[in-house]
């Protein structure tokens, strides 16, 4: 027999190492399960508490006066959709064109700064956006308004859409651009008709993801859109929104409003989940890599 090593791990050491190995595998699994649990818990309670309150009146009626049972969130749902439309009106053009600039034009250094700034903006707390738009649009006009709320959400969308658009455009192979250039097509046409068209799915999913993000935002609306217990007839008036309504109902002392808060939360979550699933389905069909 050849020489044995001058040391060798004792059987106890070996057993301990094997034991530790197995225990850690179980611990890691437990951690993964713990991380997944909250989603299921939240969804479960949303359905349990909210589903029973989802009736026709919930979707069609306005909130009843304080303390009175019944009523619905029709204005909040409509308000959220209105605000999202306005947010898109700002976020989509600026975001997409900004992304186009980053992907197709500009210099290395300048673009690095722009990207860096966009990332910084993405990290700004949403309540700060509310404060900024308050100073910009609420104070001068002396009124809370849907405009202010829409602008706040829209401004939040811009850096988000910009980055996702850039990421998708960069994935379009350079060969397409070169082939088009060689055919003598104008640069802007190449970008719009060829590059953006190729990346369209990615751009759309990026916009949808950003919309889903801002749809759930409450903080920026607290002092811009403010909320409204009635229909808004003008965009220069305060407007209701689902997250705002959920918030004010949840912190109220009335059980009936709590019930409705759950229902509203279920509707909001369903909206967001639908968008996310749509995005996932759209993304699955296309593989660039």
């Amino acid at each position: 027999m050849t020489a044995r090593a001058s040391f060798a791990p004792s059987p106890r050491q070996q057993a301990w190492r094997r034991f530790t190995n197995r225990v850690m595998a179980v611990v890691l699994l437990a951690c993964a399960l713990t991380v997944m649990a909250p989603l299921f818990l939240v969804l479960y309670y949303l359905v349990r508490e909210g589903a029973t309150s989802l009736d026709w009146s919930f979707f069609t009626q306005l909130p009843k006066p304080t303390g009175e049972p019944g009523g619905g969130m029709a204005n909040a749902i409509a308000g959220t959709l209105t605000l999202l439309a306005m947010a898109a009106a700002i976020g989509v053009p600026f975001g997409i064109m900004g992304g186009v600039y980053l992907a197709e034009y500009g210099s290395e250094r300048a673009n690095d700064w722009i990207r860096f700034t966009a990332d910084v903006l993405n990290g700004v707390p949403s309540i700060v956006w509310g404060m900024v738009v308050y100073a910009l649009l609420v104070v001068p006009f002396k009124t809370f308004s849907a405009y202010a709320g829409g602008v706040a959400l829209g401004l939040m969308m811009v850096p988000l859409v910009m980055r996702t658009t850039e990421e998708v455009l960069v994935l379009v192979p350079q060969g397409y651009r070169e082939a088009a250039l060689a055919l003598g097509i104008a640069r802007w046409r190449i970008i719009v008709v060829i590059v953006m068209r190729t990346a369209l799915k990615g751009i759309v999913t990026g916009v949808l993801v950003a919309l889903a993000r801002v749809a759930g935002e409450t903080a920026p609306l607290l002092f811009t859109a403010l909320g409204n217990n009635f229909w808004s007839h003008r965009l220069s008036e305060p407007i209701a929104a689902l997250p705002l309504q959920i918030f004010s109902y949840a912190i109220s002392p009335y059980d009936d409003w709590h019930r409705q808060a759950w229902a509203g939360a279920l509707v909001l979550m369903a909206l967001i989940l639908i968008v996310n699933v749509t995005v996932r389905v759209l993304s699955r069909e296309r593989r660039f890599t």
Partner: protein
């Protein structure tokens, strides 16, 4: 068959072959380190090794040569059960290390890898550790705590890797701060520190310059006094320089294995002859 011999311009003449190669024919027959029978290996549905049967002698250097894709690295990795890290691999056949079946159900792969060390093609010292910590990593894993013992093994391993004089004053420097050749020798020291019975080397010099390569080849020749070395190389001159025995693999099969001199000067198999005379590969 003797008339077919032509002097191979790539291989140094017999007189220039290292004395070790000549000496091995005068030494008593070596003990068998690895006894391998009908080893076949699949990656998923693709078969990579076909019924390889070979005996690798102890305290000798055996080189494994062959063109790219012939299975030599796969074979090497089967010797310390490293192929099991790739999902979907399957192996049949028998592989014994000093009489012990390495693949029998009760055997722990980590145990196997302690006895059969490995040096990789690209040096891979742990970047967050110093030179000393790198070399001692295997020892610490196995529970050695005594500082005196650790110091002794550190010096021993670095001396064996012919690196002690170069790094003895800078043992605290990060392992990755050394040159490529030095890093590879750190990896060799790391493998030697745990006193394996076998040292596997997978093209250890392919990423190194000629000077570093020469140092490592000298090291390999010195190692054979205490260790069994199996080295995979695509460089035939290297195989001729360092090894006692050479095995030629082609398309997943062992074509021929014999003393290095024989393989390079009088190979029995025409395929071997074609490869070593540079006609393909």
């Amino acid at each position: 068959m003797a008339d077919r011999i032509q002097p191979n311009p790539l291989i140094p003449p017999a007189a220039a072959l290292p004395a070790a190669a000549a000496a091995s024919s005068r030494e008593p027959p070596a003990e068998v380190a690895f006894d391998i029978a009908d080893l076949s290996l699949w990656y998923g549905s693709r078969q990579a090794l076909y019924e390889v049967t070979i005996q690798l002698p102890a305290r000798r250097v055996t080189a494994i040569i062959g063109p790219s894709g012939c299975g030599k690295s796969t074979f090497l990795r089967a010797l310390n059960r490293m192929h099991e890290l790739t999902p979907g691999t399957r192996m049949t056949g028998r592989l014994r290390l000093f009489g012990q079946d390495l693949y029998s159900p009760g055997v722990d792969p980590t145990h196997v890898r302690r006895r059969v060390g490995m040096v990789f093609q690209k040096s891979n010292p742990f970047p967050t550790m110093s030179i000393a910590e790198n070399v001692l990593a295997g020892l610490r894993l196995n529970g050695v705590r005594d500082p005196a013992l650790l110091r002794e093994r550190l010096e021993q391993a670095l001396r064996m890797a012919a690196l002690w004089d170069e790094v003895k004053d800078v043992l605290g420097r990060p392992g990755v701060s050394l040159s490529g050749g030095q890093q590879q020798r750190v990896c060799i020291a790391r493998a030697l520190a745990i006193e394996p019975e076998i040292v596997l080397m997978d093209e250890p010099c392919s990423a190194l310059d000629p000077i570093a390569t020469a140092k490592i080849e000298e090291l390999i020749r010195d190692l054979r006094t205490r260790y069994t070395v199996i080295i995979v190389t695509h460089n035939m001159q290297q195989a001729a320089r360092v090894s006692d025995r050479t095995a030629f693999f082609y398309l997943g099969r062992l074509v021929e294995v014999d003393e290095t001199r024989t393989i390079f000067m009088k190979p029995a198999n025409p395929q071997t002859e074609a490869y070593v005379s540079g006609r393909f590969g």
